[in-house]
């Protein structure tokens, strides 16, 4: 100790800084090797994207059609992959002839769940940026804040929604089901397997009563008891949460989770670590859990125990042209899509596909009126990413996506456990939509 106290501090600091440099160098090398492989993959897929436009390889040079989007982007909650993927799709369209010769430009703004900021974003899109339509929005509270504004301004929004107003108002139609109806789907699946009790656990954020409302109705109609739990996020005691869920559900019950993937993963990994996978009959989760990295992280212990509602087509092992185009666009144009293949980028792809289809139907000039009329007129459009054809329509509410798959992790991927199944109209929201939409 004496020698340390009287040794050279300069020498000590130099040695430590050199060590830190070595650690950071190793880290940088690890990162750069993965970037190099991505570049090679992009080069290979360059020719597969010509199908996204009418004139392969011909760049659109007409007057741009500017669309807008608002996404939440804050630590722990970042939905920008949806508009980034939509922008990637539009870039592909623009590079292959555009829409009647016009390129599509997506003006995507972000917010940090501040109502004032979200309202300002909407006004900026309309009054400053003069967007002709809104496509690619996905946010925690944007629908709640802006729905009246879009009604006043005559915009028909194509979005990926969360808040109740995304599904219960006239000027939003979503490609996804949102947490409520996706949770319905997860609950329906476990009920169909004969469980006696559901423990429904979700983030303790505004809207929890709305999210669990449909599950409560479905469980009641099927005489299944329900325990509702909420967790403060980020979860800091996942082991305790997992133990509580399993204790409440019992051996004949199911735990249904409605969390973002990181939160769901920490609960499931805690359950796995404690050997709780088979202490309940089943585990289930709403759509956010439908990601490969979650399947890879969980491993084989969950096969046959864990089921996830999938609002969009499971793409693992799927070789349809739509999935091929989705993957090719992601590789060639999706460098900003940090999450890669997954629900978020699928939603962005589907929104852009629908918007492009609608824009192609416009015969005259591209104006706010013509673009929004075209959006609203979309009827029975087969995106190949959803269970059913997608319709906007002049309805007072829109739950355009109300059939889903159920997937389960297997060998590091999510595979289909149950094909397309209608969300139960025991949920009054679904019943009302089917009544108005026919």
């Amino acid at each position: 100790m004496r020698s340390y106290l009287h040794g050279s501090p300069v020498r000590l600091a130099t040695a430590l800084i050199a060590t830190a440099g070595a650690v950071l160098l190793a880290f940088a090398l690890a990162t750069s090797s993965s970037n190099a492989s991505t570049s090679r993959a992009i080069a290979r897929s360059a020719s597969a994207t010509s199908a996204c436009g009418p004139k392969p390889g011909v760049k659109a040079t007409g007057t741009p059609i500017t669309l807008g989007a608002i996404n939440v982007k804050q630590p722990g909650t970042d939905f920008t992959d949806i508009s980034n993927m939509a922008a990637a799709y539009f870039a592909c369209v623009d590079a292959n002839g555009g829409v009647n010769g016009h390129p599509i430009v997506l003006d995507a703004l972000t917010d940090q769940t501040s109502p004032a900021q979200i309202a300002a974003d909407a006004k900026q899109l309309v009054t400053t940026d003069h967007v002709l339509g809104i496509a690619g929005t996905s946010d925690i509270i944007e629908c709640s804040v802006d729905y009246k504004y879009w009604q006043q301004q005559g915009y028909k929004v194509i979005a990926a929604g969360i808040a109740p107003e995304c599904y219960s108002t006239s000027n939003y139609a979503d490609v996804n089901m949102g947490p409520r109806y996706s949770s319905d789907g997860a609950a329906q699946y476990v009920i169909s397997k004969g469980i006696k009790k559901i423990v429904f656990d979700q983030s303790n954020v505004p809207g929890t009563a709305y999210n669990v409302g449909g599950v409560a109705d479905i469980a009641k109609d099927d005489h299944v008891s329900l325990t509702e739990l909420t967790e403060n996020v980020p979860i800091t005691d996942a082991d305790s949460v997992a133990i509580k869920e399993v204790d409440d559900a019992g051996p004949n019950g199911a735990v249904v989770l409605n969390f973002t993937p990181p939160e769901a993963l920490v609960i499931l990994q805690a359950a796995q670590k404690l050997g709780l996978e088979d202490h309940v009959k089943m585990w289930a989760c709403s759509t956010p859990c439908n990601t490969d990295f979650l399947a890879k992280s969980l491993g084989p212990a969950w096969q046959g125990h864990f089921y996830v509602n999938a609002e969009l087509l499971p793409v693992d092992g799927n070789t349809t042209p739509t999935v091929g185009l989705y993957k090719a666009i992601l590789k060639q144009y999706g460098s900003a899509v940090s999450g890669g293949i997954g629900s978020f980028s699928q939603m962005g792809f589907t929104i852009a596909e629908i918007a492009t289809h609608a824009l192609e139907t416009i015969k005259g000039p591209y104006t706010k009126q013509s673009v929004n009329a075209a959006f609203e007129a979309v009827k029975g459009f087969n995106t190949n990413m959803l269970c059913q054809p997608w319709t906007y329509g002049p309805y007072s509410l829109h739950i355009a996506n109300n059939e889903d798959w159920t997937v389960t992790p297997k060998n590091g991927q999510m595979v289909i456990a149950q094909g397309c199944t209608q969300i139960s109209d025991d949920d009054p929201g679904i019943a009302q939509y089917r009544k108005v939409a026919g």
Partner: protein
């Protein structure tokens, strides 16, 4: 109210988390005593190190123990460099200013983590220690070896640090600096080197806590960064002086937080545990102090 049997698994979880909070709290107390700095970047440094470990393991196939060692070294070196660069500049300033400066480091590290390991698209990452897969039964409760390590490391760090401070020359120098830095310096103790040792040791502890909490809680930058609140609570209850009290307080914080989980009426309020216990603890230790107030000129 759940039965005792139902509480038992939560006790195990709480002891493991409490152990890690304890080693963090001890690190913060020792650094404060030696340098006068309350290191609020403790959690962010551990989180950054844990993410480096994850990257090394998953992108370049580095042996996981080497990757965890990299986390410890990262914590030690970053903390040391911060201390060597900013410590002398901030030495004469108020403790509040010194603590606020470490918040700056926290924000820089949080921003860098968000840039390097984005969460858009809902990615999640995890560190799974080999000890997660081996467990034993204790009174009907499954206990993993990671739980045991969490508590054992907390105890070991507390004991070793206590012995170190009492027995070694460096420890004696640290204790002397805690009493009076200037007198210690005039006695010929190389103050800068003693501080360097404290900064480096605190950083290594942040790396250990980062790896353990990444496994026990989650490998998420925000979560790990702000878990420092539980350790900070323990350090405050110890009045930033006693590592034994810091250890005990951290264990209580971990156990109470966990044991509240199955109580339906309180479960959503359990995140308040560190704050409530810190408030109670500070009121208790100050119970005999008399506060006099007077108005000038009256």
């Amino acid at each position: 109210m759940p039965s005792w049997t139902e509480f038992q698994p939560f006790l195990v979880v709480g002891l493991a988390l409490g152990g890690v909070y304890a080693l963090s709290g001890v690190g913060m107390v020792v650094l404060y005593r030696a340098t006068g700095v309350l290191n609020l970047a403790f959690g962010a440094i551990g989180a950054f190190g844990a993410l480096i470990s994850w990257q090394l393991i998953n992108s370049s196939g580095v042996n996981q123990w080497l990757a965890y060692l990299a986390c410890l070294l990262f914590g030690g070196v970053v903390t040391l460099v911060y201390g060597m660069v900013f410590g002398p500049v901030l030495a004469p300033r108020d403790p509040l200013v010194k603590a606020a400066a470490t918040l700056g480091l926290t924000l820089i590290l949080l921003g860098a983590m968000d840039l390097l390991w984005p969460s858009s698209g809902g990615e999640s990452r995890s560190i799974t220690l080999p000890t997660d897969s081996s467990s034993f039964m204790l009174g009907g409760v499954q206990v993993t070896w990671t739980d045991v390590i969490g508590l054992a490391v907390g105890i070991a760090i507390t004991v070793v640090t206590g012995v170190f401070l009492r027995v070694t020359k460096l420890g004696t120098a640290m204790r002397a600096m805690a009493n009076d830095r200037e007198i210690t310096a005039t006695l010929g103790v190389p103050v800068r080197r003693v501080e360097a040792a404290a900064w480096f040791g605190c950083g290594v502890l942040s790396g250990i806590a980062g790896v353990l909490l990444a496994d026990l809680v989650a490998l998420d930058p925000t979560t790990l960064t702000f878990l420092v609140i539980s350790s900070l609570s323990a350090a405050l209850i110890a009045r930033l002086q006693s590592i034994t009290v810091a250890f005990l307080a951290a264990i209580v914080v971990g156990v109470v937080d966990s044991m509240l989980t199955p109580i339906q009426a309180l479960t959503n309020y359990r995140d308040m545990t560190p704050f409530v216990l810190a408030a109670i603890g500070l009121l208790w230790v100050n119970r005999r102090r008399t506060i006099s107030m007077s108005r000038q000129g009256v």
